[in-house]
Amino acid sequence: MHDEFLMGNAAIAMGAIASGVNLVAGYPGTPSTEVLETIAKHRSKDTYVEWSVNEKAAMELAAGASYAGARTMVTMKQVGLNVASDPLMSLEYVGIKGGMVILVADDPGPVSSQTEQDTRHYAAFSKMPCFDPSSAQEAYEMVQEAYEYSEQYGTPVFLRPTTRVCHGYASITVKDPEEYITHTPDGFVKDSRRWVIFPRLSYANHAKIEARNEALTHVFSEYSKNKIYPEAGEQTGSSSVNESCSRKGIATGGISFTYVMETLKSCDMVRTMKVSTPFPFPEDLAVTFLTGLDEVLCIEELDPVIERELTYICGKYHLPVKIYGKLSHHISASGENTRDSVTRAIRAFLELHNTDPQNVNDPHAAASGDSSADNSSASDSEASAVPELPIRPPVLCAGCPHRASFYAVKQAMKGRKTIYCGDIGCYTLGNAMPLDMVDTCLCMGAGLNIAQGVGRIEPDTVCFAFVGDSTFFASAITGVVNAVYNQADMTLIVLDNSTTAMTGHQPHPGTGQTMMGEIVAKVSIEDVLHGIGVEVVKTINPLHLTEAVDTIKEVADLPGVKAVIFKSPCIAIVPPNPALHIHDTCIKCKRCITELGCPAIFIEDGKVQIDPSLCTGCSLCSQVCPVHAITGGDDHES
């Protein structure tokens, strides 16, 4: 054993490696991405790692490997599980042989996600056990325990960390390589009664699953990480527990547990239950916890899972305990918990006998990391003295080729009735002013079909769908087939920057590299589109503005499905060109600023200037400048 400073996701990865994981597959998504990347970096030569084309593919791949006896892990973010939900729901009825851990990272806030969905529900829905770590150290140990449970009970299990656990760092104790388990898969054994899902098998296995999960409520009551504090013999906090507090308790789990323990350091220690397996719920332990209490405050993020379970258990066992939490408005229904919001909630709970829901924190402030909502203790006069702070929404990087692509389409379609259907990736940021080029965004690959839907109802609208290269492979191809088959009129814009940029530049089928470090044939987006039957497919560099605008004009009004592939690499994966300069001939029309919104261009002392540390020399601004006052970089001006 030795100590290392690890990110929560890296701790999970090292835990999987220590368990002898044989195969890992996933699709990138914040906050889960670093798990697979860390395994790829530290894996033994016998471990297979891949970025699959999407989460469904990853889940099915891992299922196959687990059928063959391998220890496997699938990694994704919470919305990725929606994509993988089809194999997920059936897989539990079939079961596995080698241990399978489904790593799904939830994102309270949400910090960088479409939804605040709670994977603990998916665990209950799919009937698979779920482990919910509260820290990097715990996550490291839990992965290893999860493989044991998975194999013992023949079921995939969830490991569900949240953003602050995934991206928190801690100095933790980890195994030395000599202590790692070596797991040797014993191979797939043909048995159609076991591996082929049919109604009869589902019926028989359903009963077994329900019986197993009922048994697990007892087993998990003994699990060391489901725990009641203070432990037997442990001293309570610095001051003695007062009479009223001795009949109050707190139930919590995940990162909120750590906030509760920090708060209780300076308060009276009250009976606290940490729930590390939200499904199956440790029912016996909960009864022990609840017995003798009058009131319990549930502190958790996303949905009130613990709160509902405890309410159910109180009913089932006729326990006269009032359960508070999100449903009673004592804890914010949405957004992240913070150290401050948890302290406020606990203080209100312990000091007021009849707690009333007045201390709900502001989820927006918490989500943005803005601590201004935590200013409530400061007096109003003090707060008003704070100068107005700059708002910094995320924007496309200086030199981002997506800016040029959006601008070209915008210029080409000036004065036309259009809809611009966006998708998931960096290019969602094309919605920001001044580009304002994303009218819709729903989920991975949705833009293509939404554009078709709008077109069916408004035939006079010129319909565009924008999709990134990684998203194209992940979930947009079926949308193209749908459009071609059903003879839609639309233009597909593929924003091909040769990487999965938003999540930190992962390879994908179009990049010609795999996570195993192999160089492979690139899957050509152009060929895929031609293969489907898209007749007009143009590939151009969006940084050549005139050509890009002309191409869009030429293509947009053609009947049927057309595609333009804007191909230019992400600025983060290629060396920059020399920065541009603004000459004294600048007439201060600010067109470069108001048209493009590039973060490298700013006004100081009344002069338009370019920040050389940000400018990548993309030259888009020089092509927009009416007086050619901007030069340098990779000049596209003829």
Partner: protein
């Protein structure tokens, strides 16, 4: 001795590396560390922060407001944003240069770094303002702002680690060809 530290700035300024070096230096001295970083969408020009906690008996990587011993601010406005985390009598090391968000340039909003610095001056008893631009120019690299601020932070005494600890952590983290440059940056406020 427990320490709570907040590092804040704008995506791309090097807050994460600075936070990792403090952590590495503390761990080399046998001190336990927890930290939390902003990762993801906010990195694209958004405000970023790290919470860093050194010491024993830690549960949460996040800091409660009013409990930070030190804020290392890479940008004046972001430092004001994080000020509610500072404990009374806490220390602030702040870079002078304001970064104008692209939205401010578009809307013509009047974001002034000096107003932020004035506000800090009126609120913080232990404030050190660093002219990061001048420092980087003198040292000869635009990339050493984080090391300049780190050096100044060490000198507040609030990190509980020495200049040598930080340098040795940096030497272990960065390629050798950058050592001399970054040593000079760490020494800048000496």
């Amino acid at each position: 001795m427990n320490r709570n530290i907040v590092l804040c700035g704008v995506g791309g300024q090097g807050t994460v590396l600075a936070s990792k070096l403090i952590a590495a230096a503390a761990m080399a001295n046998g001190i336990s560390v927890m930290s939390a970083e902003t990762i993801g969408m906010a990195q694209r020009g958004g405000n970023v922060f790290s919470h860093l906690r050194l010491g024993d008996n830690l549960y949460s990587p996040m800091i409660e407001s009013g409990t930070a011993d030190l804020i290392i601010g890479f940008e004046p406005g972001e430092t004001v944003r994080m000020l509610p985390f500072l404990k009374p009598d806490g220390y602030v090391v702040v870079n002078k240069r304001a970064i104008h968000p692209v939205t401010a340039t578009l809307t013509g909003s009047n974001y002034q770094g000096q107003a932020m610095l004035d506000y800090l001056q009126s609120r913080v008893s232990h404030l050190m303002i660093i002219d990061g631009d001048a420092a980087c120019q003198e040292i000869g690299s635009a990339k050493v702002l984080n090391m300049v601020l780190l050096g100044a932070a060490v000198r507040t005494g609030m990190l509980g680690i020495t200049e040598e600890d930080i340098k040795s952590a940096m030497h272990k983290t960065l390629p050798e060809k950058f050592h001399a440059l970054n040593d000079r940056a760490i020494d800048y406020t000496r």
